[in-house]
């Protein structure tokens, strides 16, 4: 057991927010404890109050929030400290890393100067020593060539490297506690694995406690000593990681553990016709260039990719960010200019212009990743869902459209009475259902699903996957399922294309790819995603697989 004396104890913490609809209690009397040197995970779905608990402990709540209760750090109640005293602890004894490495670094300063700032502030070092210390830290988090990288700006680094810099900043003053709020959620699986390994190693080396806030149970199992499961502002269950996974007591924990999308999709029978086919599809972007800046840089986002999608087939396109998988999907729908040939049925649509494409659009639909961004905030749900009907069936009366909207919402499992509400009044999963209803109301033949489940909680993901599967069999749909989440792809797709840097690395039937990956890259991807090995160095033996 890696735990020492308790150093952080949260007692009966309550967080309230004043909103237009009155006071909302986000955290309702949470008790938790962090011991020196251990890793504690706080798990919960979005809205469970897991982040707000830690934000309140650090006095980082939004201006309309207030916290009561006690947060004891080595005998002092953090909630009662003055800002000045708090700042001596924040960033020094307790530090934080956040989910978005893009926005937590200031784009105007080099990473070196951003690293030196906490060092100089808290340790009162001179510029020269602080510099040496910053370079040591960059080396510690395994940034290659730290001397040179010291002068780099955040935009010059990849997401994973930025997260490493964030970790270096958090570790700058040898904290007792490192609070990591979804530190790997925005990263690709392989990078995620590297960051987690790094965190585990650093903990081994430096001995700080880690509070790990996440929604991903897979990571928790491989990373944490103890787990707190939160739901709706309350701790549902707590315990040793192994114990929680082996015999969860609370029904909510059981539900979370069972929330991994399951089931397999059978490939369509051989006789089914090819509906959408692309041959040697190529998408290039030119970056820069212009009147005075010389020839533009050509970026080949999709490089001669061919695929054939048959009726009722689901092709999963897998790859890390920047692999060109989303671009390919949009190119096939003719939403981006591309080279190569695309057939819809027997019709060559690769040369069709806007006007010619319009009547064909109802057969080709798209569902996006971000259910917040893909619905116009100024329209009611009914208007959003029926917008396609305005284009493709302009003769429909208003009442008729209203009826169709109600039907479509019912079909995706939403209450049709909600159709005069606005998107912001719905949860993430409900919004994704709305986006699906918008695509389905046109009775399309092909739907491109661009990471439709990535922004959702696991339990919601499972429901959306089931909804999509039911719709597929009901309407003989063909899906192009783009995702980086291999567990979901496995449950959805019968055929898989693995992409990297715009090229197809490997393709084949789902089970073949998962069970016998031929290419090295595919194997790395699988290992990072599915491996049950623990990251902690002391415990390299695999944890027993959950049944």
């Amino acid at each position: 057991m890696a735990g020492g004396d308790p150093i952080l104890a949260v007692r009966d913490l309550r967080v309230r927010f004043r909103t237009l609809d009155g006071v909302v209690e986000a955290v309702k009397g949470v008790n938790l404890q962090v011991n020196a040197g251990e890793t504690v995970a706080i798990v919960g779905e979005s809205g469970s109050g897991k982040s707000q608990t830690m934000m309140a402990a650090m006095s980082l709540l939004a201006s309309n929030g207030s916290a009561t209760g006690a947060v004891d750090y080595r005998g002092r109640n953090l909630l009662e400290l003055s800002k000045r005293e708090l700042n001596r602890i924040r960033g020094s004894r307790i530090s934080m890393i956040f989910q978005e490495p893009m926005t937590s670094l200031d784009p105007l300063y080099s990473i070196g100067s951003q690293l030196m700032e906490p060092i100089r502030r808290h340790r009162k070092l001179g510029a020269k020593e602080a510099r040496a210390e910053a370079i040591r830290l960059l080396d510690l988090v395994r940034i290659p060539d730290p001397q040179r990288r010291f002068k780099s700006y955040p935009y010059e680094l990849s997401g994973g490297q930025r997260q490493r810099v964030m970790i270096a900043m958090a570790l700058a003053n040898n904290p007792d506690i490192l609070i990591a709020d979804e530190p790997t959620t925005a990263l690709d699986v392989t990078v995620q694995a590297q960051i987690l390994t790094l965190l585990a190693e650093l903990q081994q080396k430096l001995g700080m406690a880690i509070v790990f806030i996440t929604h991903d149970l897979g990571i928790v199992r491989r990373f944490a000593d103890r787990v707190y499961v939160m739901r709706a502002g309350e701790v549902m269950e707590e315990g040793e990681t192994e114990q929680i996974f082996a015999e969860p007591r609370h029904s909510y924990t059981k539900m979370l553990l069972a929330a991994e999308p399951s089931g397999r999709k059978e490939p369509p029978p051989n006789g089914f016709p090819v509906i959408l086919e692309g041959r040697n599809v190529e998408v290039t972007f030119s970056i820069g260039g212009g009147f005075l800046s010389g020839p533009p840089m050509i970026l080949r986002a999709v490089d001669k990719v061919s695929l054939a999608l048959r009726q009722q087939q689901t092709i999963g396109i897998v790859g890390e960010s920047g692999s060109g998988k989303s671009t390919l999907g949009r190119a096939l729908l003719r939403l981006l200019p591309s080279e190569g040939v695309v057939w819809l049925g027997v019709k060559d649509i690769s040369k069709a212009d806007r006007e010619a494409m319009r009547p064909l659009r109802r057969q080709l639909q798209l569902v996006f990743q971000d259910p917040f961004g893909s619905l116009s905030p100024r329209m009611t749900v009914g208007q959003i869902v029926t917008e396609g009907l305005l284009v493709h069936e302009p003769a429909l009366s208003r009442a008729e459209r209203d009826r169709r909207a109600a039907e479509a919402l019912q079909e995706v499992g939403l209450d049709p009475a909600m159709r005069n509400r606005y998107p912001h009044e719905f949860s993430g999963g409900q919004r994704q259902r709305i986006a699906i209803a918008r695509a389905m109301i046109l009775k399309p033949r092909v739907v491109v699903l661009d990471e439709p489940t990535s922004a959702l909680d696991r339990s919601v993901q499972k429901q959306i996957v089931e909804l999509l599967r039911n719709l597929q069999s009901a309407y003989e749909l063909s899906y192009l399922f783009i995702s980086h989440d291999l567990a979901v792809v496995r449950a959805m797709a019968d055929y898989i294309i693995v992409m990297r840097q715009g090229r197809v690395v490997e393709q084949g039937l789902t089970d073949d790819i998962f069970d016998n990956p031929r290419e090295e890259y595919t194997r790395t991807l699988m290992a990072a995603a599915v491996d049950a090995k623990r990251f902690r160095l002391g415990k390299l033996e695999p944890v027993e697989q959950r049944k």
Binding site: N64, L335, R358, G373, T380, E387, V391, D402
Partner: protein
């Protein structure tokens, strides 16, 4: 089943409903909004209720200070009477005041015409002049006249016009110019900017270069040219001010349109096959409106100031029509001798601008609720 559902559609809380609720919670903005409403009502209805026309000149009351008690003051009566009688070319034997009437005995070497009472009526101070007694030879006469009680709450200006009615009238003009030129600028700016931002590419480049060219024209020079060619004209003011201010609007709207165009809901609409005008009308413009409303409330004060500035220079509204800028300009010249000529119009202008800015700020917070 669906039949049942259709009868029970739950109304949602729209974006604007939300914004209104947030705005209502903002006390400064609400007070300002009420103040602006009162100011608008006062400027529209006020000139009809004030007993003085904004063009009427009271020669007896040139540059009198503001006062709550009615004019004429007791000491002014004798001067006014002296002036009148001088014009009648008669001598005063004696005069006395009984409550609100005066009785004056006049003599002359020749016979006095009864129609001379007219001279008294013509004065701003007296009213209802009558001949009370007449000596048999007609050379001595007793006339009586009522003292006309008049209020000048804001005092009068250099030519003896009531400042209250002029200030309200000026408010009418300034607010109208502010609102109309604001609307002109917003309409041109939104249409132009949204089109440029949405179409993008070369068209955007070309349209924005036109804006740059217009930006480089010096504004005052532009207005002087317009005035030279078309003469001084109220409508021209709207055009000139509106034509210059839409440029800012166009730039802001274009930037917004560019970012909205990249939003996924616009891509989704494209994937649905919605036409460009459909996307512009259903997605881009409604999502722009928040910014536009905010900018409009900040644009109106800008227009009012510009108009005041032009009028101050003598290029704007012409006498006897007036605006706050004109009044302030006149007031500034008399700051030593008659400071109320500056204080009242300046207070009206400044408080209105304050209120507009508070409302603008409140709207920005209400429409764009980021955690502050």
């Amino acid at each position: 089943m669906t039949e049942l559902a259709i009868t029970h559609a739950v109304p949602g809380r729209s974006f604007w409903g939300d914004a209104w609720a947030r705005l209502r919670a903002n006390r400064a903005a609400m007070v300002s909004l009420v103040y602006l409403g009162l100011m608008a009502v006062a400027c529209i209805v006020g000139p009809l209720l004030v007993p003085h026309q904004y063009t009427t000149i009271y020669p007896d009351y040139v540059r009198i200070p503001p006062s709550l008690s009615p004019y004429p003051k007791p000491e002014m009566i004798e001067t006014a009477l002296g002036d009148v009688l001088k014009r009648m070319r008669v001598d005063v034997k004696e005069w006395r005041q009984e409550s609100d009437r005066i009785f004056v005995t006049i003599t002359s070497s020749r016979e006095i015409d009864e129609r001379n009472t007219r001279y008294i009526d013509r004065s701003d101070t007296f009213d209802d002049a009558r001949v009370e007694e007449k000596s048999p030879d007609g050379k001595t006469m007793v006339m009586s006249a009522a003292i006309k009680q008049q209020h000048f709450l804001f005092g009068t200006d250099n030519t003896g016009r009531d400042l209250l009615s002029r200030t309200l009238m000026a408010g009418r003009v300034s607010l109208a110019i502010g609102l109309l030129a604001g609307v002109v600028a917003v309409v041109i700016g939104v249409v132009y900017g949204a089109t440029a931002g949405f179409l993008g590419g070369r068209i955007d480049e070309a349209m924005m270069r036109v804006v740059d060219v217009l930006y480089s024209l010096p504004f005052i020079f532009f207005v002087i040219m317009l005035v030279v060619f078309f003469g001084r004209n109220f409508v021209l003011m709207f055009l000139a001010v509106g034509a210059v201010l839409w440029l800012d609007m166009a730039r802001i709207v274009r930037g917004q349109a560019l970012s909205i165009r990249r939003q996924e809901y616009v891509q989704a609409a494209e994937a649905l096959g919605v036409s460009r005008t459909g996307i512009l009308a259903r997605h881009i413009v409604p999502n722009l409106l928040g910014v536009v409303v905010i900018y409009m409330t900040l644009l109106v004060p800008q227009v009012i100031i510009l108009e005041s500035f032009l009028s101050f220079l003598g290029l704007g509204v012409q006498e006897p029509m007036t605006s706050w800028g004109v009044l302030i300009s006149a007031g500034a010249k008399n700051i030593g001798t008659a400071n109320w000529l500056l204080l009242f119009p300046a207070f009206f202008l400044v408080s209105t601008l304050f209120a507009l800015n508070f409302v603008g700020d409140g709207l920005r917070d209400a429409l764009d609720p980021k955690d502050r």
